[in-house]
Amino acid sequence: MFRYILRRLLQMVLAFFGTTLIVYALMFAGQGDPIQALAGERPVTEAQRAYLTEKYHLDATGVGGFFYRYFDYVRSLLQGDLGQSLTGRQIGDILQAAWPVTLKLALIALAVAIIFGVTAGVVAGIRRASIFDNSTLVLTLLVLGIPTIVLAPLAQYLLGVKWQLFPPTAGSQPTFYALLLPGIVLGSLSLATALRLTRTSVAENLRADYVRTARSKGLVKRRIVTVHVLRNSLIPVVTFLGVELGNLMSGAIITEGVFNIPGVGFNLFRGIRTEDGPLVVGIVSVLVVVYLVSNLVVDVLYAVLDPRIRYE
């Protein structure tokens, strides 16, 4: 196990360099004149141009120049310096402000998925083909079918504006209550997937041979379901939820955009829209690390939950 984790960490180093390189290349390849982009509409004097060219090593051209700038960027990245965005703010500061908001949102969404999705999935799996099962199937299909870009504004309009049950937007310092509706919207997709996964898994495990054995031991039904079946059924569900938390942590561009939540996705979207190369590359680099780490945690968790899984 220890060697496996070590190998995975080494692989993560490779993956990290690979992805940052690609994002870095894509973000700066399309740009015409980075100095003009930095200045926006204002004219740039010769002295300023010379200073910026010197500062960003823009005098080196071609592939060599690109790699020179990339490694220069990575060097400061490894020292914990994400650089400045084109607006002049430290990217580290932006992320420090945005991440707690995104994390709160992600946890609300995950809680919604677990409390409602997994519970309903267990009930639907036990009562297969019942009215409850069929109606949850239809509802989840509906949720999975409606894109967030439709669902989020719809929920915002109905629950936020029309009936005024929730604040329609979150604002710069969002409270838990303000994040509740966006969290539910964001979590509804995970909820639907978790429900279906749990249902299938429970239904499948109820038919397993070891359930027959447990019955022949004379155990009560409640124990067979809550101990034997659930312990097995929840292995894929926990794995899914772990991956899902990794996804949610990387921010929800649409949901954060619609509800005006100053999270990671919101900042990333703004960076892309304003062609703020350093900001986009900075955020994506950190997201890559978050995603890689959360996947490693899920893989290790999987081995802990299922004794048959052995990593060499």
Partner: protein
């Protein structure tokens, strides 16, 4: 319909330990109704071993699951019949009463121990669970007793292995764990549903020996379900041969092997390769087992039977009681038996 007697052994005083009377089970599926058990009657007395023999789909496992009350309902439905344990009909008992019987009075072991054991719990935990849940034993006591049980079924280093998971055991050792688990509550009847089918031949013999020893030492009665005639001979007292959800022949082991009185049993015995005859072509039973949704008229074996006559197509043969307490559901039982004896 009259209840057929099962005369292969005399009824002891106070009745049989376990007795099935005219059991009918069907599977209701979307494609139709499959008649899986069609009037099975057999009995078991304390301390004896009954072998239930038959090919796949003959209903031997379903019968056992009906006794345990672990049939999946739906699709399975017990249509009629009685399952008497110590004179009490299990089929009319409450679910709670039946649960009390499971494991404590009648225990069962299954064919594939790998899938029959829960993959995510250590074996010691699974053996101990029965004790904790059913006898109210403490964790520590259950653990100690689990080690004793695993010693009893001759698992080497039992104390060290109780923390291991099922997949860490070999096939034979896994089946021993299964047996240890079944013995936890000291059952009076052990149903072994093809306990050796998934195992290597050498291991099969060890498991059969173990079961025979345990049955004798613990004075249990055993129902041994198998399709392997070789397994039966050394262990069983009586044999019930099943075909298409019926018992076609019922006899003590010795006389059945000597002279089978049903063409199906005869065919089965003739299809065993013999060591003492060289160059002989192996005989087979032609045809396939019947589709249980369309069981042939009359005697269900008639399309495959070398003795077939018009009467076999028209009339369902009832159990013919032969002289020495054997029964055979064949119109020509006496002839078949005389043929076999020759």
């Amino acid at each position: 319909m009259t209840v057929e007697p099962t005369p292969a052994s005399p009824t002891p005083e106070g009745g049989h330990l376990l007795e099935l009377r005219d059991l009918h089970v069907e599977f209701r599926t979307n494609e139709g109704v499959a008649r899986v058990i069609n009037g099975v009657s057999y009995h078991l007395d304390a301390g004896e071993t009954l072998a239930v023999l038959g090919e796949s789909g003959s209903g031997k496992s379903v019968t056992a699951q009906a006794i345990m009350g672990i049939l999946d309902t739906p699709p399975a439905f017990v249509r009629s019949g009685q399952i008497l344990y110590r004179g009490q009909d299990l089929l009319t008992s409450s679910e709670e009463q039946r649960r009390q019987v499971r494991g404590k009075e009648i225990a069962m072991i299954f064919q594939d121990a790998l899938s029959a054991l829960n993959p995510v719990f250590p074996v010691g935990w699974q053996v101990g669970e029965t004790l904790r849940q059913r006898s109210g034993m403490s964790r520590g006591d259950a653990r100690r007793r689990a080690v004793e049980l695993m010693d009893l079924v001759k698992i080497p280093g039992a104390a060290k292995r109780i923390g291991d998971y099922p997949h860490q055991f070999s096939g034979g050792m896994r089946q021993r764990v299964m047996i240890a688990m079944a013995l936890a509550l000291d059952p009076k009847v052990l149903i072994a549903d093809e306990p050796t089918t998934a195992l290597d031949v050498t291991v099969q013999a060890q498991i059969m020996d173990l079961l025979a020893d345990l049955r004798r030492d613990l004075n249990m009665a055993m129902i041994l379900i198998t399709h392997d005639l070789g397994v039966v001979a050394g262990v069983a007292d009586r044999i019930a041969v099943m075909y298409a959800g019926r018992i076609v022949e019922h006899a003590d082991v010795r006389s059945l092997y000597k002279a089978p009185a049903h063409p199906y049993t005869k065919g089965l015995l003739e299809s065993i390769p013999r060591m003492d005859v060289r160059g002989q072509e192996l005989s087979t039973i032609k045809g396939l087992p019947p589709n249980l949704m369309r069981i042939p008229s009359g005697c269900p074996f008639h399309p495959r039977c070398p003795y077939v006559q018009q009467v076999c197509v028209d009339v369902v043969p009832h159990n013919l009681v032969l002289g020495d307490g054997r029964t055979s559901a064949c119109h020509f039982a006496q002839e078949v038996r005389d043929d076999s004896a020759r």
